[in-house]
Amino acid sequence: MAAIMHFFDVFINSYDVFLDGLWITFKLSLASLVIAFFIGLFFAVLKISNIRILEWIADAYIWIVRGTPLIVQIFILFYGLTDILLIPMFWAGVAGLAFHSGAYIAEIIRGAIQSIEKGQREAGRSLGMSTSLTMRRIILPQAFRRAVPSLGNQFIIGIKDSSLVSFIGMQDLFGVASTMGSNSFDYLSYFFTVAVYYLFIVLVLTVLVNRIEKRLAVSD
């Protein structure tokens, strides 16, 4: 009982530092996922281009991301970008996370594009639409709808993965918890606290994705 009361104490008294961390996690996740989305879209289009060299480039990218731990990708991009290109730490973190999520998002979007019935493309083409116009106006809007649940899921993974940037020194949610924990030696309370924050974020996102899914379902 006393332990639980203590946890609540820590939870309530630490809110201001955690809100700072939350803000960093939020900015980091938002920036990295928006960028990852466009990276993913780009590589998805390469993969379905039917042009051998472009497909090969996309495969290589996805293979590298899948084949190495995220923490290694973050460290390489962090030291590469901050030491050599003098890019600020925040953007190095964004780059590492976007580079990683982009590969998974590419696979999600590619799968969604390929799941759209062949007749849709043919209907567009038969009306005189070019390949790219058919892609933009007919295939992609349907593919995105179909991809919403998987994209939502990937975004949740991306937000949780963003905690790894604390290892390059960022004071995101997890960074704050680590710092507070080691300062007070009360690790458990701070890690419980940070778990609650993540659960809350994921809950909000889940509700949001469900809403969007319902909204989009009107045409089905």
């Binding site: 019935e117 209907a123 038969s126 009306l127 005189g128 639409m129 009107v218 045409s219």
Partner: protein, 246 residues
């Protein structure tokens, strides 16, 4: 006999998928305002022929003329050619993320660059014409098969094509919905639309068709007026096909 314009002419058309020779030395001419009905067993190459006519499939040999002009990938933008050749599919292929009216105005606006208000006005007219004046703003998923196919017809007509191709437009429909689509097509024919129709509806072929083409195994076996083909076919294969479907 008459001085109608030639809309489509196909000269020694050949098409293969890998080793499979699907269309063999096809010759066919479609004159303005004519309705040509293609019949034949499944797998005889009817769909492939239609798809070659609007370049959804690329021929391997022979020539295709539109309005007397030889059409080639190297000399023409095929997107422009496809605007002139409307197509209606067996499975409708409506755009599910767009409303009925949205389906119809999509290509006029984004391909022809028509002004939106005008496209909407024209689109509504077409939907009225096919009997869907109360369905502008619903999504295709709420429609019956017959209604979907009529939207698909309106969508193709919105590009003001010179010729309409129909690939088994009623084959995916419940029997009670076939009539409404056939009567829309019949009206279109009566207005003078040039049409090439693949169908198993022999009543439609006889009543609306100016010419009937019987295909077998990638070849045109027999070509004639509906009465000739249905009542006194010259070829034994035509005879047995007709008796199998009547």
């Amino acid at each position: 006999m008459d001085n109608k314009k030639e809309i489509i002419r196909v000269d020694q058309l050949n098409k293969s998928f890998g080793d499979l020779h699907v269309l063999k030395d096809i010759d066919l001419t479609v004159m303005e305002s004519e309705v040509v009905v293609l019949i034949g067993a499944s797998g005889s190459g009817k769909s492939t022929l239609l798809r070659c006519l609007n370049f959804l499939e690329m021929k391997n040999g022979g020539e295709i003329f539109l309005d007397g002009e030889k059409i080639n990938k190297s000399t023409h933008d095929l997107n422009d050619i496809r605007q002139r050749v409307g197509m209606v599919f067996q499975h409708f292929n409506l755009f599910p993320h767009k409303t009925v009216l949205g389906n119809v105005i999509e290509a006029p606006i984004h391909v022809k660059g028509e002004n939106k208000a005008n496209a909407i006005k024209e689109g509504k007219k077409l939907l009225d014409k096919v009997g869907l004046e109360d369905k502008y703003d619903v999504y295709p998923s709420t429609l019956s098969g017959g209604q979907k196919q009529r939207v698909a017809i309106a969508r193709a007509l919105a590009m003001k094509p010179e010729v309409m191709l129909f690939d088994e437009p009623t084959s995916a429909l419940d029997p009670e919905l076939v009539g409404e689509v056939l009567s829309t097509m019949k009206e279109l024919a009566e207005e003078g639309m040039t049409m090439v129709v693949v169908t198993h509806e022999m009543g439609f072929a006889r009543e609306v068709g100016d010419w009937v083409v019987y295909m077998h195994d990638g070849r045109i076996i027999e070509y004639g007026h509906p009465n000739e083909i249905f009542d006194q076919p010259r070829e034994e294969r035509t005879r047995s096909f007709i008796s199998s479907v009547l």
